[in-house]
């Protein structure tokens, strides 16, 4: 009987636990998490907007651990891994031996080195439930919010709080909102929507300093332009960093992230890593599949995890939905195709007969095949003229044996 | 368990007529009842009327993702256009019938041919305000008055409308601007209107339906009856056998199908001539008999008092014609109009039954076409007779007999018309009005129109009728609904037992059934005359009467034209299935709600006999309250 320990109860940790339980019905599985409740960080904004309580941002059933006979140790940080003795230490000197260990500690928010920001008690991240709780408490005292960064995290926070009547200022270093996912036009649509809901954007502008009160709380953000923006608290959404401290302290090889091989093994024997802490990807589906792949390897089924490609994300703010896949900025030597109507905007980047980037704003229903085309570098020459009307019908195939579909390419 | 060795399949549709259902299940030939199963998957777009194939861009269908056709037509336009097309086509059918009927009367006059009812002639001439030198001249004049109206352009109002219609209705129609122009022109105009990228206005198109309804009802229905009465004889109340028992295999039997009784005038008399009878005898038969089927059979049955020798009786409605033919004792089918199912063709082929068509509009694929021309009727008639005798000789003994002598009954009350009923009541509507006023008869329901099979053969018609009479509502029928109801005994005096206590008492006292059979669908016009005369006697308008109409199992486009007349008359009209309109909320609302404000009428859709009867009863009770009775 083997003992599996998983550190972290996010997308990767939970999917690993789930997979391990299927592969190893009898073995001992333990999940140790710093969080009290399993929750989806992608739904934190639903919590912050008070649309859902903590239970309803749980992405597994309430009886998940019980039903799967998995021990869940909550509210405990793992302090050290003894990779020789194959033991983890957590909390007040508790320890647990393992045969196989998975590190799925995720990533944490990053505070750039702006004076006062790293010390101020009223600067929050927006990565997990504890962050959301802190913001909620701060919001009870003051409704002027300064958000650094207009990526998905920043806008998630903004959309949640503006529904609750916040006065929001968002500073973005790039010249447009959601710079990674959008182009200028798509960005303008979202910017307008947020502005209509009371948000103010400062584009191409950063925070360079701050004014604090006697407790060290930031009361005014000083912009790179010199302008002072008064605020009650700050949300940092200017990027994340893989959480590598534990691995590093335990002598496991790290660079910017925990180093893993193609089987998601770390430098330590029988220690694996999955999810954001590996730095391989930052999106949920990839974390899930890393958790699955790591679990398979831990269970003795050699599984090669292919580096996720391409960049991909969706967003849905105020009912404006967007899908963004691949690279929209790499346009050299590429054909840029655009389709724009009153209710839709689509853009495709085609290079050497292959789709390399795709953006769709509007009704993104039934558009999953674009990710597949980019991911698998499928030749679409001859189909450029209907690039925005492609459907699975253009690649229709059926696996006669099991009735599943198959791409006919 | 399954001991039928040569049946086609046992998945036949249910029928209100259980013995017939069993008979059909066992016959070794395919009928409509067998085909229901294979056609049970309906096109939902078609059912809702939102499939448009008016142009090569189509067919376009309406879905949430595609709310307009390629041309831009929305559901309202597509539905209204399809509906008006159907009403126009249906109107064209009835107008064709009245045209031929009037021509027959005219020829009768011109050739001083046999007139069976001078009383009817004088009545009609009086109604139309026509005079003539003698009865023959009067026939010509009456016919010309009708024909000239039919042939008017649509921009000229027809002159007889005001003479035929009840004045309060005419007043309302004028207010609504729906007085019809020339009846054929109206059909023409509205067919044009519904062509590709012409009218897109659903409200205007529905108003056009009402106009077509008026010309259809007054001319196609009412006048056809009155014209036929002159040549073919007035209906007389009597009892008659109905169902397949009427078929006597010792005769050369001719099944008649269609709607134009006047086209048979010559031949039905000729068949009794001694030389023709002698030919039949020489072939081994006792003589000729006509077997009724569909509405022309109903019409012959209605006037059966004049045709006891040649007419054996009415076998049944359109959807048992295939079964009737399968009995083996029918030697020929003479058809002249619709409700002649294409499904009879393979059966006739197999059983060597001669098919002859008397009108090109209903030319069947494997039939001889010998169109009726007055001038050549004698030689054509003899040719038809000879062909039929040949068929008799070549098929008898060669094809199997599958008689169904126990089917139907012997004592169905028939011969009811506006004239014969009034006479029966002692020459006045007062006794009927008194019965209604006293509540012994709660109200009147016209259960009319077709028979259909897709949801059961006559099942809804029968269920609804039973529910209505149980509520003391007297049912008047016309059309294939009559054929279905009479075969299950609803028009025998014994059916009084099924009526509610008050109606039952009335039936027993008068010796009548609780369902009165006016005959063919054309006689919906007679029923409406009855309604008009009662309204006139009461001094009220038609929508005020405790009268409802149900075309429970409406089948054809003609029924929709009839229905449009009912709406123009301001009557509540029940339909078992919607007329392919529900894809448009607007059209549905106009038909089922807003129509009340226009004409007083409205469409009620209900596929369930019990709840439909409850709805209709509620309407009758409401009208009774308004009349304070």
């Amino acid at each position: 009987m083997e003992r599996f320990i998983i550190i972290g109860a996010g997308a990767a940790g939970i999917s690993a636990a789930k997979t391990l339980r299927i592969l190893r019905p009898e073995d001992i599985i333990t999940v140790i998490s710093i969080d009290e409740k399993v929750h989806s960080r992608c739904m934190l904004h639903k919590y912050l907007s008070h649309e859902r309580d903590a239970q309803r941002i749980n992405f597994v059933d309430a009886d998940f651990f019980e039903r799967n006979d998995i021990t869940h140790i909550t509210c405990e940080a793992v302090t050290k891994i003894d990779t020789e003795a194959k033991t983890v230490f957590y909390g007040d000197n508790y320890s647990a031996p393992y045969d196989k260990l998975l590190i799925a500690t995720g990533s944490g928010f990053f505070i750039p080195p702006i004076p006062h920001f790293r010390e101020a008690p009223n600067v929050f991240g927006f990565r997990d439930l504890s962050d959301a709780l802190k913001i909620d408490q701060a919001f009870a005292k003051g409704k002027r919010v300064f958000i650094v960064g207009s990526g998905l995290v920043g806008l998630d926070a903004a959309s949640a709080l503006c529904e609750r009547g916040a006065e929001i200022t968002i500073a973005e270093m790039a010249p447009r909102v959601m710079p990674l996912q959008t182009d200028d036009y798509a960005a303008s649509i979202y910017q307008k929507a947020f502005e209509e809901h009371g948000c103010r954007f400062l584009l191409g502008i950063g925070a360079s300093d701050a004014v604090t009160d006697k407790d060290g709380n930031i009361t005014e953000v000083i912009l790179s332009t010199g302008e002072h923006v008064p605020c009650d608290f700050i949300i940092m959404a200017a990027g994340v960093r893989p959480r590598i401290q534990l691995a590093q302290d335990s002598g496991i090889a790290v660079e910017r992230a925990i180093c893993t091989d193609e089987h998601l093994r770390t430098s330590a024997v029988d220690v694996y890593a999955a999810g954001d802490c590996t730095g391989l990807s930052g999106v949920w589906p990839d974390a899930v599949s890393q958790g699955e792949a790591a679990a398979e390897n831990m269970a003795g089924i050699p599984t090669v995890y292919e580096k996720p490609y391409p960049f991909k994300n969706t967003s849905n703010f105020f009912g404006i939905t967007m899908l963004s896949v691949g690279r929209l900025d790499l346009t050299e030597g590429a054909e840029i195709l655009v389709h724009k109507t009153q209710s839709e905007y689509k853009k495709a980047i085609v290079k050497d007969g292959k789709l390399t980037g795709f953006l769709s704003l509007g009704d993104i229903s039934n558009s999953g095949l674009y990710l597949y085309l980019i991911k698998n570098s499928i030749d679409i020459s001859g189909k450029q003229n209907k690039i925005f009307r492609l459907s699975f019908a253009d690649f229709y195939g059926i696996n006669q044996k099991n009735g599943e579909f198959a791409y006919n390419i | 368990m399954n001991n039928c060795t040569d049946c086609i399949n046992c998945n036949t549709c249910p029928s209100a007529d259980k013995p017939m259902e069993e008979y059909i299940r066992r016959i070794p030939l395919e009928t409509a009842h067998h085909r229901v199963e294979g056609q049970s998957t309906k096109c939902g777009f078609g059912l809702q009327g939102v499939c448009c194939r008016l142009c090569a861009n189509g067919p376009c269908r309406i879905t949430p993702e595609s709310p307009r056709g390629i041309c831009g037509a929305n559901a309202d336009t597509i539905v209204a256009r399809n509906f008006l097309r159907a009403v126009a086509a249906g109107s064209g059918c009835y107008i064709h019938v009245v045209e031929n009927t009037a021509r027959q009367l005219k020829n009768t006059g011109l050739h001083k041919d046999k007139i069976r009812s001078e009383k009817a002639l004088n009545h009609l001439a009086g109604l139309l305000g026509v005079t003539g030198k003698d009865k023959y001249d009067l026939c010509v004049k009456v016919a010309d008055a009708v024909l000239s109206d039919l042939y008017r352009p649509e921009y000229e109002p027809m002159e007889l409308v005001e003479k035929l219609a009840y004045s309060p209705r005419v007043k309302r129609w004028k207010e609504l601007g729906i007085m019809p122009g020339g009846a054929k022109g109206e059909v023409f105009l509205n067919v044009v209107k519904t062509s590709t990228n012409l009218s897109s206005d659903p409200a205007e198109m529905l108003v056009s339906c009402l106009r077509l309804g008026i010309s259809t009802g007054l001319y196609g229905l009412q006048l056809t009856n009155l014209l036929n009465d002159v040549v073919l004889g007035d209906p007389e109340i009597r009892t008659a056998p109905v169902g397949m028992n009427v078929i006597d295999p010792n005769y050369i039997n001719i099944l008649i199908t269609g709607h134009q009784h006047s086209l048979f005038t010559y031949i039905q008399d000729r068949l009794l001539d001694d030389d023709v009878t002698a030919k039949a005898k020489a072939a081994g038969a006792k003589g000729f008999k006509l077997v009724g089927c569909t509405c022309v059979g109903q019409d012959l049955q209605l006037r059966g008092a004049h045709y006891t020798e040649i007419f054996d009786g009415h076998a049944g409605n359109n959807y048992i014609s295939e079964a009737v033919l399968s009995c083996g004792a029918i030697d020929a089918v003479l058809s002249e109009f619709n409700c002649t199912l294409p499904g009879i063709e393979p059966i006739c082929e197999k059983l060597k039954i001669k098919q002859i068509c008397l009108d090109v509009v209903a030319k069947k694929a494997n039939a001889d076409l010998i169109p009726f021309h007055y001038e050549t009727r004698q030689e054509d008639g003899d040719k038809i007779i000879d062909e039929i005798i040949e068929a008799y000789k070549s098929r008898r003994g060669q094809v199997p007999m599958n008689l169904f002598t126990e089917h139907g009954n012997k004592n169905t009350l028939t011969g009811i018309s506006e004239g014969s009923l009034k006479a029966f009541l002692g020459g006045s509507w007062k006794p009927l009005i008194d019965l209604i006023a006293s509540g012994k008869i709660k109200g009147l329901a016209g259960v009319v129109g077709c028979s259909s099979v897709a949801y059961g053969h006559d099942t809804l018609t029968a269920e609804l009728t039973k529910e209505l009479i149980a509520k003391d509502i007297l049912v008047l029928t016309a059309g294939c609904s009559s054929g279905g109801l009479e075969n299950i005994g609803m028009m025998t005096p014994e059916a009084a037992e099924l009526a509610g206590p008050n109606l039952k008492a009335v039936c027993k006292e008068l010796g009548i059934p609780p369902v009165l059979n006016f005959g063919p669908c054309l006689a919906i016009g007679r029923l409406e005359i009855v309604a008009t005369e009662i309204a006139r006697e009461l001094g009220v308008d038609l929508p005020q009467l405790p009268l409802v109409i149900s075309a429970a199992q409406w089948l054809e486009e003609q029924a929709l034209a009839d229905g449009s007349f009912a709406l123009a008359l301001g009557l509540p009209l029940h339909l078992g299935v919607p007329p392919f309109v529900t894809g448009s909320k607007l059209v549905t609302k106009i038909l089922t709600e807003d129509m009340v404000g226009l004409t007083g009428g409205r469409v009620i859709i209900d596929p369930d006999g019990k709840s439909a009867a409850n709805q209709l009863e509620a309407i009758i009770e409401e009208k009774r309250r308004a009349l304070k009775i």
């Binding site: 960080r41 849905n316 899908l323 993104i364 039934n366 999953g368 699975f392 599943e404 579909f405 | 059912l47």
Partner: protein, 148 residues
């Protein structure tokens, strides 16, 4: 598990399956095709009959994949593969409308609900004992439920 097998060669594009799907999932409490609102976007079909561009049709029905892209991408737990039934089930209550599933289904099955708060996806007519309405509605037997 059961899966709807498709024979595209038999499909005539009549969309009876789509109407059956719409009828099966209508929310207005009504029954019967006559009252099914064909203009209400909430009634959109979960299956789609696409033209194959050659005069035929490519019916796209949810495969309830053995390894479902959609469920793997779901960050709310709304979509999950039921290991007993084999179905990819959707819990609208849990859905956070992030539409990662829409992006991830390589066959383009999930659609966005008109209120942009949920997705629309085949549930194998879980509420019908007799199984998926689409299959029963197909006059050509181009779709059938088979055990795999």
């Amino acid at each position: 598990m059961k899966r709807i097998f498709i024979d595209p060669a038999k499909c005539d594009g009549c969309k009876n399956c789509s109407l059956a799907c719409m009828e099966s999932h209508r929310q207005d409490g009504g029954t019967g095709i006559y009252t099914l609102d064909l203009l209400d976007p909430r009634n959109q079909s979960r299956n789609r009959i696409l033209s194959d561009g050659k005069g035929g049709y490519s019916p796209v029905f949810c495969r309830h994949c053995d390894i479902p892209d959609c469920a793997g991408a779901c960050m709310s737990g709304a979509l999950h593969k039921n290991m007993e039934s084999g179905l990819v089930e959707y819990d609208a209550e849990k859905c956070a409308a992030c539409y990662m599933c829409v992006m991830s289904c390589r066959y383009g099955v999930p659609a966005i609900s008109p209120d942009r708060k949920h997705i629309i996806k085949c549930d194998f007519c879980a509420h019908l004992e007799e199984g998926p309405a689409c299959v029963r509605a197909c006059p050509k037997k181009a779709i059938e439920v088979r055990e795999v």
